[in-house]
Symmetry: C5
Subunit: 335 residues, 5 copies
């Protein structure tokens, strides 16, 4: 064993002392060294670890009203300190940062509160360590989160969905989460790189951090709120307009002659068409609201109007017939 | 090897003895130390491990009647004792708790009995150990569980779904599961934090623990029962009302003149509309009940009524025709 | 290193020798000891390992006719011997069983032959070892298996699905699978704990074990056969009855007057309704059978009957018209 | 440490030298011995590793025309040589084969070229090593593969799908893949054990191996071609027949009287029914072909025929009316 | 321990020194040697690692307009240098390349920017190392990527989707990505091997590499752009043609007699048919565009035309009736 390790040392010394491995050797950073992974990397336990967090929305992938879920593709940037990592870059030919595998270092247990489907994909395999002890982590993540939708004004609705970052176990005096950039900057950045927005127009994004009491101790949380407006033009073209057209048709049926059955047949057909459109709408809307959405009121209203007008036609027809029958009777009496 | 370890010891001694690592060193808690992972952490095997368990429902994600599954997003809190973990916090500058990776310690093999799709996502990466040997574990989990639904009163039904925690292998005298908070407290907490309730209104949550005999030895189980009421307003607006409207239309067809074919055509059209609505309902309801749900009885009843009234119209039409034909014959005879 | 291990030994000796760890130390059972995992745990290779297997069906989750798959949630119990595990429980204060992590011991490579979607979820994390060398393993598993369905008698069909346990590689003289309980006991147990049965009524479950020759050597297999009857009441209410109703309507159209077009219109409408119902049925039934199911024959028969009656009506109408036209001609000639 | 290993040796020597572990000890086959996993197990690098491969189709699970995927459940058998494994079975009481965990030995990097969804399930946990150095591996696998479908003759089509085995990196002079059994044998075996065939009848299976040049060096590939015929009886019953029925109805409408509107109404209704059937067909067929399938030509043809006949009826009606109008004019002039 | 390793050395020396293991021993390449995995493998940290990247599209699996995702099956080839790997092939009987497990060497952290569902499948298990320090990696991958679709010209649209390779953390001066082959070569290769193209015709593929500034430092990215044309023949056959047919029918209704209700009934039926076709189209098209696609304009236009012509018919009918009524009045007055 010894001859082997001597051999290695020899190779490294023969080379100029500017390899990344030299830094790692100086730090004793190996996969086996448990000091770096077993606990929060502070020399004095009263020291707080400050985590700088930043999130940019790269794509709004899906917003499912029926499932009340919001699916976004986000870029996450995290930065925190590690007391055991420190070197003088001048001792190592100016190496100021080394990129090392993720599993050799402690990572904060940050989770997204609303996330209802955990990301099973492997995370970024590397971390960047800086000579002053700062650790940098970047990751791309699909966030499938629960979001309470308000479909009252559908299809002209604006939705707000939260993405809340928090630690599972660390209290505020151990791990404090800070925001790096303010709301307007991340809004602007997200707007610039947004690749796909699905059915939505990205309106705005705000970020706040606050302290909450979670079962016995305070924790800091960071809440990103994403505001989106629905693109309603195709919904109008496919639901609102056709229904208006059919209402229009129904009104024009006034011009049809009263007596015959064709008016009733025409009105029944139009009523059936509206029923079909109504059923399609109900497939799109969630059954989750306790308040009936405006668009359902709109369709049910038109449906009701047509129904009443159909009933009225039937009654009028009946009365006309009665009348003519009595006239016939009168005539026959007269005769 | 020796120079390296000396070096490390030197660094640690130079720093004040308040690092978390000092506690771990004192406990000999390393990834390689199998005492902590190989068996239940009691010094005397007759000692019982008591597990305090708590669950809060964070979101009701889906209730699929057709699949008889209930999907919830829950927060689980567990706490148990470990005889091998004990330190005097005064010896370590007041450190009373350390957060360590999950894989270095034994964890109870708690499973959810009804869970039909195992959670493939990684669990919380850390555990909190306390100076008195208490271990604290927190996790967020999606529970996809089997739940026998009763759709008899659909859409005015109330469902009760169970989430049962038990150990795979430990008997009651080895692992005993206790409830930390009573039913009313967890009900209240769940109601407060409930983020999304899907199509349901969370009514209540109860928790009981009992002892069952599982193939040879007693085990403690903890049963959480979640009671939910369906939000029925949109179902009424989309199914119950339109069918009533069509029944109404069918009644008004009495006012149509008997003789012509238009009455029969009108009634047939209305019957078709009800058939279409009935088919949509059957897509929503599961074929799992041996009792026909009330709403199906309701629709089949209305369907039957309309059918009978249609048949009656046809027969009456026929009789009138017969009658007039015989009158015509009589007339022609008279003539 | 030495001071550390002395320290540990000291702690353990100070405690009474009743810790589980003492047993493991006695057996030299550690994660690094490859004797326990590298090969079948018999001291003499001519010894057979006998595996006792038991399966209970906890839930029938889905039976997909169109995919020919059967999804069940089962509880599996396995028990086998390990020659390297043996201790006298009196030497260890009466400890007769220890629960250890699964990965430290050899496990038989039992697989389910019909399983078409492998279970990606982690298995039970622990095994129970007994002082006489018996190993006990319990697991809950979702079994997604291929099952040849016979839909000829749909919706009054009874299906039989097999779950076959076998070893990948071990021959019969190495690993023999035995059944612990007989068919009637596991049927009874399954019936008792069955949580959800989906669209089916659990009828019976039988178990047999046999020997098959698999590419060069004999292997024992254990076949569990699950027999289920479909709950047909809702299918009757939604397909069979409405079609009968429409057939009924079609018969009553005999009473409509012959001459006018309304009879043909009425019959065409009823024919369309049956076509729609037929299409829905075809969505439910698989295209997998080479024999046409009875229900399709039933619907096609009724469809054909209606079609013929419609054609007959058209022909009769035509003949009546011809007749009256010739009479008119005759009349006009007479005149 | 030393006392422990002495102890172990003692136990093993006390037992007869017929344990599998003795063979492994002789081979120095341990998890830590990297000779067995780091590189292709040949003593002289110019030696070729010959891999015997065999595949049997156990079930055709799905053939999705719209996705152009073919899903089968196959049994794979592989056998190759390892120069580092060799023992005289007479030295070990006749032990001629040992079953060891998969991860302790090198395995060829065989992949299926068409596979579009990688199998995430764990593979068979064991390999069988023979005393002459042969390694045997068996696995069950779901193959989800891309397959170019030809739907031109739907529903009377025959599809051929390939499953191509190749190595990621090894050239032909390093790893050569050989077929164990010829096409007729595997065809026969597959036909015997086929558990489910979905919508298809398994026709034949052929196997060929060839050499291809892949970016710089030759590789051997083995191509299994599976030929299947669609079961078309239900497709005929549900699409082809009803459309013929409706065409039939349309022809019979010739017998309806010309003048009135009822003929046009009847023909329009039949045309609508065919439109609905056409739309259902388009849901089943993929949009992937650049040639229009025969069945679409068939339906479009019938649709066109009906349309023309409807237009002709309208024109004839118009001409008759014109004629009678001019006759009326002539009459009124005459009068 | 020492006797064992002596033993091994003995075996290896007895064999000719042409085993792959000899090369690995020379390089000290073992799983435990962290020099090869902990950091970028350059001896001088100012050396740039150049990564040659190549991608060929093997299959276009799916293009989902409604989800705005593009799913392709690609072959990726990567090649980079490792300063720690170097041997003289003449010293090792001419061995110029060794294939070793992937996990023993550093791999660049290349990710695909648009990828919205991470590949959970295991990657190719081996890397090829060359005697000059070049590392070769090949992999097959499913890429599920976000792609902004332009459906304005549907179904005659051409889509361009990007696949962008970049490093998570490495700056341009550390890791530079180069393209091996130019656009025309990879286009040609992709066209040759394309197994399935789904609904699309592969048109062209271009590749460019550029430098972007990502949060503080420059990174090289490589963008592959895939251009595809939709196969529109079936869309034309199923949507565009039938709608034209129905428009045609509507025009011919001019020939129907004005007075009766049959003209209105006919026109209403045709209008309903177009409504149904319109709804099906809306299911296919995404609601994601802010501009209404041409095909929707086409259908809405035809729908509007028919509606206007229907209204006009109703009005004309009304006027004719009014006129005849006034004539009747005039007549009766005259009488």
């Amino acid at each position: 064993f010894s001859c082997f390790s001597n051999h290695k040392v020899f190779i490294l010394f023969a080379a100029p002392t500017c390899s990344y491995q030299n830094v790692l050797d100086h730090l004793h950073l190996t996969k086996a060294n448990e000091t770096f992974t077993m606990s929060r990397p502070v020399k004095d336990h009263t020291n707080k670890t400050v985590l700088y967090l930043e999130m940019i929305v790269y794509a709004i992938l899906d917003v499912k009203e029926t499932d009340q879920t919001f699916i976004a593709y986000v870029w996450i940037y995290m930065e925190w300190g590690n007391d055991y990592i420190l070197w003088n870059k001048d001792d190592f030919c100016g190496i100021s940062e080394v990129i090392v595998p993720t599993e050799v270092l402690w990572k904060p247990d940050i989770t997204i509160e609303e996330m209802i489907e955990k990301d099973k994909a492997p995370q970024s395999p590397f971390l960047k360590i800086h000579s002053n002890g700062t650790i940098e982590f970047r990751n791309d993540q699909i966030v499938i989160s629960a979001c309470r939708m308000h479909v009252y004004k559908f299809p002209f609705d604006i939705q707000k969905c939260n993405i809340t970052f928090k630690s599972y176990l660390y209290a505020e005096h151990e791990l404090q989460i800070e925001i790096e950039k303010n709301s307007s900057v991340i809004s602007m950045w997200s707007r610039e790189i947004m690749a796909t927005e699905f059915e939505w127009v990205f309106v705005d994004m705000t970020v706040t951090n606050s302290t909450v009491n979670h079962y016995g101790y305070n924790q800091t949380i960071v809440i990103y709120t994403i505001e989106m407006k629905r693109k309603s033009v195709l919904h109008v073209a496919s639901f609102v307009l056709p229904i208006l057209f059919f209402l229009c048709l129904d009104f024009f049926s006034l011009l049809l002659p009263h007596g015959g059955g064709e008016k009733i047949g025409f009105k029944t057909t139009v009523l059936l068409a509206v029923t079909v459109l109504q059923l399609i709408l109900i497939e799109i809307l969630p059954f989750t609201s306790s308040k009936i959405p405006l668009i359902v009121v709109y369709i049910l209203g038109i449906f009701g109007l047509m129904l009443l007008s159909l009933l009225e036609t039937i009654v009028v027809n009946y009365l006309i017939e009665m009348d003519s029958a009595s006239q016939d009777d009168a005539q026959s009496v007269n005769e």
